[in-house]
Every structure is written in structure tokens, then in C-alpha cells.
């Protein structure tokens, strides 16, 4: 079948069921984010003697943790909760506030989609994001990303993605003294991959990042994007319930394989990043998270099967291209996803036009 049914009666079921599955799929990612941000917090504390811990989130850590001197799993979880929960509550509050106003003005019940938007938005932020920036980004996400296009299921880009882009573009020079904030990537938050850009394998070894720690997600980075294991669990659920398209997902990962090989084949031997191996592309930065939860958004992705393959390859190709050639955007996933989301309707249009021509030719 070339054309899949639209979002309203997709094989995966109605909108509410899809939303519930999407939220459920984010659960392991959330859990990993909690533990890892707590772990990174205590790790960073030791390296950041000038940090006084007087902000709200650090004081919450002080209240919740039992043994901050020699932290264990409980302390990691508590510190993670102290960081993620206020951000998530604020994002939900802001999203709910706008959703309420819009629902009142348009005379329909509140749409639940903002919960997913808030969750994705927070998971794409560094753990030390300023509260004012969350308010700004979430407002942009709900109003500009969703409401003006008609609400849930009608926008052509993922609202959370728009919110993140707005925050990244608006506050490129934001800086805070905090263990969960490195000066390297700011709101792009792709610390580990920025580190690779600077020092290659050596820097990875120095920072104690190996394949296993990156796989389970014990590396610095934006909250939800570090653990490939948790993302894979979420992806498995989304694939089994057919909420996301396996073609689009496969296209992105096969594309990554292909373009990493191409980049290595045509690399300049003096530049480490050109031959950055595939596993680092997958493990560092936010490619996997973006591929599963943002690019495969059932609303904003291409909805024809050839279109899905094209979109997936386009994402992978652009990500690899920007990563290996432009060190000012070490991660590149967020801007690429935005660009390709905008192109998705065009890709569909081209595929449909092509299909119509083929069929017309067959029945002369």
C-alpha cells in the first residue's frame, strides 16, 4: 500500500490511544533522565567548587537527598526529581494555561496534546534551564506550534520542536553556573558530542565516556537524549503498537549508516570528526531521541511510504553533513528536524504527483 490512512483512523487507533502510547513510551526515557541528571549533578558538583547550590532546584536536592556525600541510586533519583519535576510542572502549567484560554475562546473542550508537548519539550532541555526560558519556549510551542494551525493533530511541525528551536535561537548566549550546564553547547545541550568535536577519542576516554556508559545514558547532555537503552525501549513500544512508521525509523538509521560511511570514505585524515564512527553518532547527541520521538511524530512526518524513506534519508544525511563539517553545531539534530518537518508536506506532494503520473501512464 502506497498510502496509509490519515491520523484520525490510523491502524494504531484513535488520537487518545495514540497519545497514551506516546506518553507511555516516554516513561523509560523519563526514568533514565531522572537517574542520569541526578548522577550528572553529583558528578558535576565535585568538579565545580564555585557552585554554591543556592538556586531552587539545588535546595530541593538538599531536602530530598539522604547522603549527598556518597550518593547512591536513591540520591540520584532524588536529585533528578528535584531538577526535572519543577521544570515539567512549569511546562505543564504554562501549556495548560494557554490551552485553557484557547479552548475557552474557541468553545471546545481542552485538548490533551499539550501534556506530550510539555514532556518532549522538557526532555530536550538541559537540566539547568532557566524557568523564564521554559515559560517562553512552552508558550511558543503551544501558541505558534499548535493553536494557530487548529490544535492537536493539525500542526505541520512538532510543537515541542518549535519550542526548543525558539529557546535555542532566542538565548544562544545563556549561561548559568550549574553542574547540569556546560558552556560548550548551551541550550543545544549536546555536551558529549561537542566534547568529541574538540578532542576525538582521547577526550571521550578522559571524560570517562565509553560505549556502555553512553548506551545506558550516564553521559552529560539534554535530559532525555542520553540513554539509547531507554529510547530503544520506547521505540519498541511505539513500533509494536504501530503508532510510528517503521519505514521512517528504519530510513533514518540506515541513512545514518550510509552517510557515516560516506563521510568516512571522503574524509580529511587530519580531522577526527570526519571519521567519527557510527556508534558515537548514535550514542552521543540527540539523534536517536529525535529520530524516534520527534521525526516520527505521526502528525508532522511524511505520510506516504516513499515519502517516509526520503524523509528519513534526508534527516540522516543532513545530520551527518552538519556534524562532520560544522563544529559550531556539533549536534545538528534539532535544526535538521525543523527543516525536514517543513519539507515533509512537499515530499508527500511530490510522491503523490509522481504516483498519479505513473498510474496515468499505465492506463493510456
Amino acid at each position: 500500500m502506497l498510502f496509509k490512512a490519515d491520523y484520525g483512523n490510523a491502524p494504531g487507533g484513535g488520537r487518545r490511544r495514540i497519545l497514551r502510547i506516546q506518553l507511555l513510551a516516554l516513561l523509560p526515557v523519563m526514568l533514565a533522565a531522572l537517574v542520569n541528571s541526578g548522577y550528572q549533578y553529583f558528578q558535576g558538583m565535585a568538579l565545580l567548587p564555585e557552585f554554591d547550590g543556592s538556586d531552587l532546584r539545588s535546595r530541593l536536592v538538599g531536602i530530598l537527598s539522604v547522603n549527598p556525600e556518597a550518593p547512591g541510586l536513591y540520591d540520584y533519583l532524588a536529585a533528578g526529581l528535584a531538577h526535572v519535576l519543577p521544570m515539567l510542572l512549569l511546562a505543564l502549567l504554562v501549556g495548560g494555561f494557554w490551552e485553557r484560554i484557547i479552548a475557552d475562546r474557541r468553545g471546545h473542550p481542552m485538548e490533551p496534546g499539550f501534556v506530550l508537548v510539555a514532556l518532549l519539550f522538557v526532555l530536550l532541555l538541559p537540566g539547568a534551564a532557566a524557568f523564564s526560558h521554559i515559560i517562553f519556549g512552552m508558550s511558543c510551542a503551544v501558541i505558534l506550534g499548535k493553536a494557530i494551525f487548529g490544535g492537536d493533530g493539525k500542526s505541520f511541525i512538532n510543537p515541542a520542536l518549535l519550542g526548543i528551536v525558539m529557546v535555542q535561537v532566542s538565548y544562544p548566549a545563556a549561561s548559568v553556573l550549574h553542574p547540569l550546564w556546560s558552556g560548550m553547547a548551551g541550550y543545544a545541550g549536546s555536551d558529549a558530542i561537542a566534547l568529541y568535536h574538540r578532542g576525538g577519542e582521547q577526550a571521550m576516554a578522559q571524560a570517562g565516556i565509553d560505549t556502555w556508559s553512553a548506551f545506558i545514558g550516564a553521559i552529560p547532555g539534554t535530559l532525555g537524549t542520553t540513554s539509547l537503552l531507554a529510547i530503544a525501549l520506547g521505540a519498541a513500544l511505539l513500533l509494536l503498537t504501530r503508532v510510528i512508521s517503521w519505514r521512517l525509523l528504519a530510513a533514518q538509521f540506515i541513512g545514518l549508516l550510509l552517510f557515516v560511511w560516506l563521510a568516512a570514505a571522503f574524509s580529511d585524515p587530519s580531522a577526527d570528526v570526519h571519521s567519527m564512527p557510527l556508534h558515537w553518532h548514535l550514542l552521543l547527541g540527540s539523534f536517536a531521541f529525535g529520530a524516534v520521538f520527534i521525526a516520527c511524530d505521526p502528525v508532522a512526518s511524511a505520510s506516504t511510504n516513499p515519502g517516509r524513506w526520503i524523509q528519513g534519508f534526508l534527516i540522516a544525511g543532513l545530520v551527518v553533513l552538519i556534524r562532520v563539517t560544522n563544529s559550531t553545531h556539533p549536534d545538528a539534530v534539532i535544526p535538521v528536524l525543523l527543516l525536514v518537518s517543513l519539507l515533509a508536506p512537499l515530499i508527500d506532494h511530490a510522491v503523490i504527483a509522481w504516483n498519479i503520473r505513473q498510474r496515468a501512464r499505465r492506463h493510456v
Binding site: D6, G8, N9, G14, R15, H108, P109, S132, F136, L144, I148, G150, K154, M166, V169, S170, Y171, P172, A173, A174
Partner: protein
């Protein structure tokens, strides 16, 4: 139907605004609105050129051969724009440097040519001048709104006077970098169009197509 002169002057401000209803002149609106002073100056220049241009074209309208009318209109407009550009370079050199090519590009601004062709060719001198000035004011009005918003949110200042002290100087205001980039003008103009069309629903266009609603949600 002949509109009163007052109506001709005021209609382009909101009801028939060249920027928000006819979506003309967007290019310069993105480029010159990073600060209020350039927006003000650009607005003033366009008001002058539009008013004078429409009046001159209207004066000459019976002498202009139909087949070359666009060329004659462009010549009139280009003459005015060059004069204004030279005046700016003579008396406001700094500002004219910041406006760069956008003064010269008024020649190709669709609003100017549109008013000359669409109104001044068929109407008297006074009405044409008022129509030109009104459209210029409508353009300037949106430009000033966008310029003020962008300068205030992007730098915390208005007309280069610091109102909010940015964090880099120890204040509590965090400048919104986005506002200094051209896309922000798109968002702001879009927002203004949204607001105007909420107040004036007759401006809302018919949707070209609508979504088919298949799943029945509880309404």
C-alpha cells in the same frame, strides 16, 4: 462610488492596510525593523514618496500614453526615490547607511507602483495624494509597531534609549536574540494580522480547503 477624502486617507490604516491585508512590501518590513529609528525613517520616506508619486502620476494621467504607463510611473517614482536617497545621505548619513539599499529599493516596492497604477491613474490630484499618504501611513504604522516591539524585546531600548538594563550589564532583563533576526518580523506581522482579523472578521479569507473530520470527538 466616490469615497470622502477622509475615508481615502484613513482606510489604508487598518481596513485596507497594504502590509497586513494586501501583504505587500514585506521584504523591507523584515529588513528595516530591527530598531525603531530606522523603521520611523523608512516609514517617513515611504509616506513622502507615495504621496508625491501618486500626486505627480495623477497630474500627468491624461498625458500618459496607455502602452508605456508603467515605464512613466516607474520613472516618476525612481526620480523621487533618488532625490530622497540623496537628501538622506546629505542630512542623515548614519541612518541612511543603516537603511542601506532599502531606500533605493522603494522604487520596486509594490505598494508605490500599486497605488500609482491602481488609484492615481483614475483619480484627481487631491484624492491621489491623500491615497498615497494614507497607504504610506498604513505601511509606516505597521513598521513602527514591529520596529518598536523588536527593539524593545531584542535590546531593551526604544530609539536607542535604554529602558531595561540587560543582564550583561548587571540588570534583570534578558534580551531576546530572536527579535534581532529577520524571522521575528514574520512572527510579529503574522501576529498583528491575526489580531486585526479577529477585530475585523470581514478580512478573513475563505479557506481554500478544509480537513475532513472522520473521528467523532465529544464536542
Amino acid at each position: 462610488m466616490q469615497d470622502s477624502n477622509w475615508r481615502i486617507l484613513t482606510r489604508p490604516l487598518i481596513d485596507d492596510n497594504p502590509l497586513t491585508l494586501q501583504i505587500l512590501g514585506i521584504c523591507s518590513a523584515l529588513a528595516v525593523t530591527t530598531s525603531l529609528d530606522t523603521a520611523l525613517l523608512m516609514g517617513l520616506v515611504v509616506v513622502c514618496v507615495l504621496g508625491l508619486g501618486s500626486a505627480l502620476v495623477s497630474l500627468m494621467r491624461h498625458q500618459i500614453p496607455h502602452s508605456v504607463r508603467i515605464i512613466v510611473q516607474i520613472t516618476v517614482i525612481a526620480t523621487l526615490v533618488i532625490v530622497v536617497d540623496q537628501l538622506l545621505q546629505a542630512y542623515a548619513f548614519e541612518l541612511s547607511k543603516r537603511l542601506s539599499v532599502f531606500v533605493g529599493l522603494i522604487i520596486t516596492n509594490c505598494i508605490v507602483l500599486g497605488r500609482a497604477e491602481g488609484f492615481a491613474m483614475h483619480n484627481g490630484v487631491v484624492a491621489s495624494a491623500l491615497d498615497g499618504i494614507g497607504n504610506g501611513l498604513g505601511y509606516a504604522f505597521i513598521l513602527i509597531l514591529v520596529g518598536a516591539l523588536r527593539e524593545f524585546l531584542g535590546k531593551g531600548s526604544l530609539l536607542n534609549m535604554q529602558i531595561l538594563i540587560p543582564t550583561s550589564q548587571g540588570g534583570g532583563f534578558e534580551p531576546l536574540q530572536l527579535m534581532l533576526l529577520p524571522p521575528s518580523a514574520f512572527f510579529i506581522i503574522g501576529g498583528i494580522i491575526w489580531l486585526i482579523r479577529r477585530k475585523r472578521p470581514q478580512q478573513v479569507e475563505e479557506p481554500e480547503f478544509s480537513l475532513r473530520v472522520k473521528d467523532r470527538r465529544a464536542r
